[in-house]
């Protein structure tokens, strides 16, 4: 009987166990990035920037040159790499605590300069690695270890929508929010990643794909319920879609 390969792990990831908790969607997002880099022939000339948070170990997983950045500073580190090695593909992989809280200045200004890099932003509305504290993206009423009775928006404000915020920055070129809660959306997310890396390859400037993700452990839910909550609650506050396609300078 003849056998044929219908599926195999992507060469874009190192063949080793991931450190992420069971049921979280980091694994799917990693796989999509690895696949896109391989399929576009970019993997061997890429530099990825790992951030601080659950993705701190991501330099162990992407099968290309990697640098590990200080908390929030991945877009600045990526800027340094891209400016001295413009022929390489440079991407950051950051969570919502890293990108939307401590790293707010670096992400906004990387977009502002129209830095020709691709940012992968994984938004699960909580600090995962440190044990479930409130993030700027935590939903109103959402219980975390630093908002034990639920996020009180009077004290802590309403959650930040980063794709919408960056869409107001003239230098940003491509911004899309996607989800990986079912196969249809996984395929759509992959297309978004392809688009983002194409923007970089074509030297069109700053691109960011925001992934709505889950954190079963810190949300206190099983993986299925987590996916359902991501759809019902997170996507309701963070609508999926393209927030920017083409730089303001292109439009003029």
């Amino acid at each position: 009987m003849k056998t044929k390969t219908v599926y195999e792990p992507t060469r874009g990831l190192v063949d080793r166990d991931l450190t992420y908790c069971p049921g979280c969607t980091h694994g799917i997002i990693h796989k999509l990035i690895g696949e896109v880099l391989v399929e576009k022939g970019l993997l061997d000339t890429s530099v990825g920037i790992a951030s601080v948070g659950c993705s701190v170990m991501s330099y162990e997983f992407f099968n290309c040159d990697m640098q590990q950045a200080a908390h929030g500073r991945a877009p600045a580190v990526a800027t340094g790499v891209k400016r001295v090695r413009p022929e390489t593909t440079v991407f950051t992989y950051q969570g919502d605590g890293d990108l939307a809280s401590i790293g707010m200045a670096e992400i906004v200004h990387a977009a502002h300069r129209g830095e020709n890099i691709t940012v992968i932003f994984v938004n699960n509305a909580i600090y995962g690695m440190t044990g479930g504290q409130m993030a700027p993206t935590t939903l109103p009423g959402q219980k975390t270890t630093t908002s034990p009775t639920g996020r009180n928006v009077v004290d802590t404000g309403l959650p930040l929508r980063m794709s919408e915020l960056l869409a107001t920055v003239p230098g940003a070129t491509y911004l899309e929010r996607v989800s990986v809660h079912d196969p249809k959306h996984v395929r759509k997310a992959k297309k978004a990643l392809e688009k983002a890396f194409d923007v970089q390859t074509n030297k069109k400037g700053f691109s960011m794909i925001e992934f709505i993700s889950t954190c079963p452990v810190n949300w206190g839910m099983n993986p299925n319920d987590s996916l359902a909550w991501a759809v019902d609650s997170l996507i309701d506050y963070y609508p999926l879609g393209v927030y920017k396609d083409g730089g303001d300078s292109d439009a003029s």
Binding site: T45, S46, V47, D65, V77, V81, R83, R85, E106, R113
Partner: protein, 356 residues
């Protein structure tokens, strides 16, 4: 090449270009603004990289990325800005990335002032970043010495895979002096940067990672010991100093940078009065040149440390002296530059005599 009259900050910027700086990332702060201003034009002209970052924090992390990709990189700042860079400097040291950092010191603490100071000696030699690390640090006295050290520093950074800081006070940054930037400087043999994460995993046949994270305590301790070995090598090989008329000196001034210049004037005047006074001038401030103190004869009974701070290098002088001689201190702060007459008075006080 003939000497050219240049402002200190611009001379340092030009020396960086001559030293092979590929990329500069910086942020405006007085009194070092002429460095990014000069480089914004001249780096672009040379086809090299210049980025004005959104903050000191971003600038040092851009340095990290570019250094991690194998480039020769520099940033510059002044006291509060260097404070902001400390996190990044710790990461650079931890990830063993080479870079050059120019520090043009002004008065502090806090926003302090914008006049020259040496109040960041501890910040530079002890470091405000976390963990067991050191940076090679030099504190030159003249613009000629400054440009030569800046030129060499890229080699030193690459050789040790470690940040190198050049600390001058605002006076050296702002004054003009004739300099020859073409002077040849000692070279180091630099191994290829086969560790760099620069997007060549395909060509190399393996992927490189630039990290400062070691979650296993035994692995981190091993890394700490490896770094320590490197710092010990710096202590053995990179102590730099000048001794001035110390052969017969009964009293030895210890001063660096601008203060050393003023002390020279004081020494000339004192020698004319028959006072046996000399000077140890540290050029490296980390490693501190303790070897200089071993060169002193038995007749040297007193060390007079003079700083534009309230006694920071003083601690290193006391450690190097190890209780052998009397240690005295004179300092001005806040941006006030001492006069040679003040130093002369301190020397006479130390000798228990009145000025003649």
């Amino acid at each position: 090449m003939a000497k050219v009259l240049m402002k200190g900050n611009e001379a340092m910027a030009l020396a960086a270009i001559k030293g092979g700086c590929d990329a500069f990332f910086g942020y405006p702060i007085t009194p070092q603004n002429e460095i990014p201003e000069y480089l914004s034009y001249h780096m672009k002209k040379e086809g090299r990289v210049f980025v004005q970052a959104e903050s000191e924090v971003a600038a040092i992390n851009m340095v990290y990325g570019a250094a991690g990709a194998g480039a020769r990189v520099m940033t510059s700042s002044s006291s509060p800005g260097i404070a902001l860079k400390q996190e990044g400097i710790s990461y650079l040291a931890g990830s063993e990335l080479p870079c050059v950092i120019l520090s043009v010191m002004r008065g502090g603490p806090g926003l302090g002032g914008i006049q020259p100071s040496q109040g960041d000696y501890n910040q530079i030699t002890r470091g405000g970043g976390n963990g067991d690390y050191h940076v090679l640090a030099f504190a030159p006295e003249t613009l000629q010495e400054t440009v030569e050290i800046v030129k060499q520093s890229f080699d030193l950074a690459d050789y040790y895979r470690n940040p190198v800081m050049i600390a001058v006070d605002g006076l050296i940054g702002q004054m003009m002096e004739p300099v020859d930037v073409e002077t040849s400087v000692p070279k180091k043999t630099i191994p290829p940067k086969d560790w760099a994460a620069e997007g060549k995993s395909g060509e190399r046949g393996k992927r490189n990672t630039v990290v400062s994270l070691h979650l296993d305590p035994y692995m981190l301790e091993k890394h700490n010991f490896a770094l320590k070995k490197k710092y010990d090598e710096m202590v053995d090989n990179e102590q730099r100093f000048e001794t001035i008329q110390t052969d017969d000196a009964e009293i030895v001034i210890v001063a660096y940078g601008t203060v050393a210049r003023i002390a020279r004037t004081a020494i000339e005047a004192l020698r004319r009065d028959g006072v046996k006074v000399g000077m140890i001038r540290p050029i490296s401030i980390w490693p501190f040149p303790e070897k200089a103190f071993a060169t002193l004869g038995e007749q040297s009974h007193t060390l007079l440390t003079v700083e534009m701070s309230l006694g920071q290098m003083l601690q290193d002088v006391k450690l190097a002296n190890n209780g052998k001689r009397t240690v005295r201190f004179y300092g001005r702060a806040g941006g006030v530059v001492p006069d040679s007459k003040e130093i002369i008075k301190e020397v006479y006080d130390a000798l228990g005599r009145q000025s003649s």
